[in-house]
Symmetry: C2
Subunit: 157 residues, 2 copies
């Protein structure tokens, strides 16, 4: 997502905050700046760490209290990558339909969208008697480059 998109998303999140009569504190500011300033997936613990770099006074409790706001408002998506912890995806606001491919070799996560896929998912839902609301697709794959060249372009592995 571009920097401008991120800024726009942040602005809309602040409106969400305001519409719920919630307040902007320095701790929330640090957390929000962090979330809308990265493309990377993160854990709650990482978010705490990064936010603390901006404002030392951010506590674990506040991170855990702020995350649900971000998820509820739709700007961040909760992900279960099958690793030990839950991850959060900050790229959801502008790409609500994106999916994830996780490389088994290098742990790289590739985000992608595909219109045909969406159409097919909708057709399947209808065939089963439902209307699609949201979907999550995770593809676990191995890196072709690694197999051919013995190295992976995504990460030295």
């Amino acid at each position: 997502m571009s920097v401008a998109d991120k800024e726009a998303a942040k602005k809309r999140f602040l409106e969400f905050i305001e519409s719920k009569n919630l307040r902007m504190t320095s701790q929330r500011q640090a957390i929000i700046d962090t979330v809308f300033g990265t493309d990377e997936h993160f854990t709650a613990e990482q978010l705490l760490e990064w936010s603390k770099e901006k404002d030392q006074s951010v506590s674990r409790a506040t991170v855990y209290r702020t995350l649900p706001l971000l998820v509820e408002s739709g700007f961040v998506q909760e992900m279960d990558l099958g690793r030990e912890n839950k991850y959060y995806d900050p790229n959801y606001a502008e790409h609500p339909h994106h999916n994830h491919l996780i490389c088994q070799d290098c742990d790289k996560i590739v985000e992608f969208e595909d219109e045909k896929l969406e159409e097919l998912e909708e057709a399947i839902s209808n065939r089963l008697g439902f209307s699609l609301r949201t979907q999550k697709l995770q593809i676990s794959a191995s890196c072709d480059q690694l197999k051919k060249l013995g190295a992976c372009k995504n990460k030295s592995c």
Copy 2:
């Protein structure tokens, strides 16, 4: 899955157990009978409860020690439905490519397979430079029947 399929799967799991030089105890027997005797998704706690009905001496610890064997051997799949707990899917052995549609209205889970979907997923993976290994698709949907008739065929809701 048919009863015969379930029995075949159970037999293959017992071979897996044997190949690892693990032993068959009455507690494991009860847990395994439970898993290969249901089509329903379950939590660790439910598995404990059901297994205890067959053998009172099954403990929580043994359930938690046996579940990884079932997952590792590929007969049960771990699922994160976005509800509070992890669920386990016992229908994975004969249908490793199946996906899930979860009805937001009635919590019903519909399992489905689709060849076109698999082909598309593989094509996408290749396009991105990877080879598909496994995939998980979860569709969250609402029930058409409920909207039209005010009731849901899957569950009175």
